[in-house]
């Protein structure tokens, strides 16, 4: 064989047998290119076309038309920019609260407490249940006509329609459910990080008379750097892309959508997928590229903050 396909250190046979690893690799790698990488790159191409959701319909190149329309034209663009703003608010609130709450829970559950396994499991469970069960549970919990939360709010004289109320109100409740559902992952990552911290560091510091806050500031926080980085990045990127709970909890309501939901609604209709010429997939592709750049820019900024922190603590 003229071309060698495997490196010299390949041990399993000579001649034609050296094709074997490649032949076995091909199905997996081919599928990956076909289903993931190819379509991912093609999103950029589609964003310059007027593709619809109909098989065989002509697709025309229309340049920056979609972007122009999405960002700058008429009432719709104002709605889009509002959705962009909402996506950012969602990201900031969810990231901050989920990160903070996850850290507090992890600190509490890293102590030797009776029943800590129970608490850890309890807070983590929503993660594996998925958005449908999370959403339906909270729709019932927030049942406006005499449900538990309505009852408690009633004691304080607060009236609320919850998910069916004003857009801002519904939006806030979606953030609550989003945090409730995912704080378990953040907590678990913090806990995994805390368990790698050398216990003798604390013992030595205690002998020097260091108390709770000092222990946290000078040992836990710097030693926790990898977990902090992971959580920060996961939360920023995850919350920018999260929108499924909006679908389950409130549907496509004006004044509540975030960018991810917008892409879905433009590309596939607002509630259900049935092939239709009304689907503006080129336009939706442009919207998803806008979202992609948002994730890229904010993700890179988050990464930059994280790197700087790491240099500060780990040298």
């Amino acid at each position: 064989m003229a071309i060698s396909l495997v490196k010299k250190n390949y041990l399993f046979g000579q001649g034609r047998k050296r094709w074997v690893p490649w032949l076995l690799l091909l199905p997996g790698f081919g599928l990956y290119l076909l289903i993931a990488v190819g379509p991912s790159l093609a999103t950029a191409v589609y964003s310059f076309t007027d593709a619809s959701g109909v098989r065989g319909a002509p697709v025309n190149w229309i340049g920056f038309e979609n972007y122009d329309e999405f960002l700058f034209r008429g009432l719709a663009s104002r709605d889009n920019l509002a959705a962009l703003q909402r996506t950012l608010i969602f990201m900031v609130v969810v990231t901050t609260v989920q990160f903070g709450l996850g850290l507090v829970l992890a600190l509490l559950l890293n102590q030797k407490l009776r029943g800590r396994t129970f608490f850890r499991t309890l807070f983590f469970i929503p993660v594996i249940l998925g958005v449908v069960i999370q959403g339906l549970m909270w729709q019932l919990f927030l049942y406006p006509a005499g449900g538990p939360v309505a009852e408690v709010f009633g004691w304080f004289g607060i009236q609320s329609e919850f998910l069916g109320g004003a857009p801002t109100e519904a939006f806030i409740w979606v953030m609550v459910v989003q945090i409730w559902a995912n704080v378990g992952i953040t907590m678990m990552i913090f806990l995994a990080g805390m368990q790698t911290i050398d216990e003798t560091l604390y013992e030595a510091a205690r002998i020097d008379g260091a108390g709770g806050w000092n222990l946290f500031k000078n040992i836990t926080w710097p030693q926790l750097t990898p977990a902090i980085n992971t959580n920060f990045l996961l939360n920023v990127i995850g919350s920018l892309q999260a929108w499924q709970l909006f679908l389950v909890l409130i549907g496509y309501r004006p004044g509540t959508q975030v960018l991810g939901y917008l892409v879905f609604a433009e590309g596939f209709g607002q509630t259900t997928g049935s092939v239709s010429a009304a689907f503006r997939q080129g336009y939706a592709a442009a919207a998803s590229i806008v979202l992609f750049f948002l994730v890229l820019v904010l993700g890179m900024s988050a990464n930059w903050i994280v790197q700087r922190r790491e240099r500060k603590y780990l040298g």
């Binding site: 490196k7 046979g13 690799l25 407490l113 309890l122 594996i128 678990m188 995994a192 892409v263 592709a285």
Partner: protein, 297 residues
Amino acid sequence: MTIPRDDAPEMIVPALDAEPPVVERVGKGFPWGKVISYVVLSLFALLYLAPLFMLVNASFKPLSEFFRDPIGLASGINFDNYTKAWELANFPRYLLNSAIYTAIATAVFVFTTLFVAFPISRGIIKGGGAILTLYVVALFLPPALIPQFQLILNLGLYNTRVGYIMLFLVNAIGMIIVVNYIKSIPKELDESAAVDGCGYFRFVWSIVLPLIRPAIATVTVLHAIGIWNELILPTIYLTNSDLYPITRGLIVFQGQYGSDWPALASAVLMLMLPMLVLFMFLQRYIIGGLTSGAVKG
């Protein structure tokens, strides 16, 4: 957890003798820290237990009772709502669909992943590094949603089982986990197997695979949970209700019987129970997989 604490006191004991440390004094007083911890944790736990309790409680109530008093304790335990939901929600069919999609897609994914991960991890093929880079970079590429749809549509696989399963055959994070794990298998093993005349396929399949079982278990469980819980893709790709997985079926059921919360609550609970049981058995793998990036960073 794994830090050996036994030898630590030896270093510290002399210091303890010299001066009574702060730890001692705090330890003897009333454990305020623990009490506060329990209060905070219990309040937070309420946020998790109360929705669950509401669900169970509502599922036992006849509809009229639920409307009259949504939060009072159910007057009795009866399973009428469960039988009703089981029949109305078309549960058996949706569950079977979900099981088929999850099992086939996960099996194909794990099998193909093994044979991509091994040669990359061992560095025995040319361009292996570039392939691995492609898997890492893809985590940051734009969403594939729209062109993926066009692909499936133009292949004529829209609204078919095959088309739907195709969407779940790859998982870049799972691949990276397996690649990293294979690095912990000693290379000497390859040599001795090759000397004994073992073929490539047989070596990877019957010697490497059993050795990397923890990593395989982790990616299997994570991938399967992802497919099982997926809501968006069935909404996009499946319009024939005979093909719906359980997630989509539940949302459709809610659309039809949205005000019948007792039936809906029963449906949710019936779907939740197997997930909870599975979680109890597999939580080591699930949590291990999700937190794997935390330690190394």
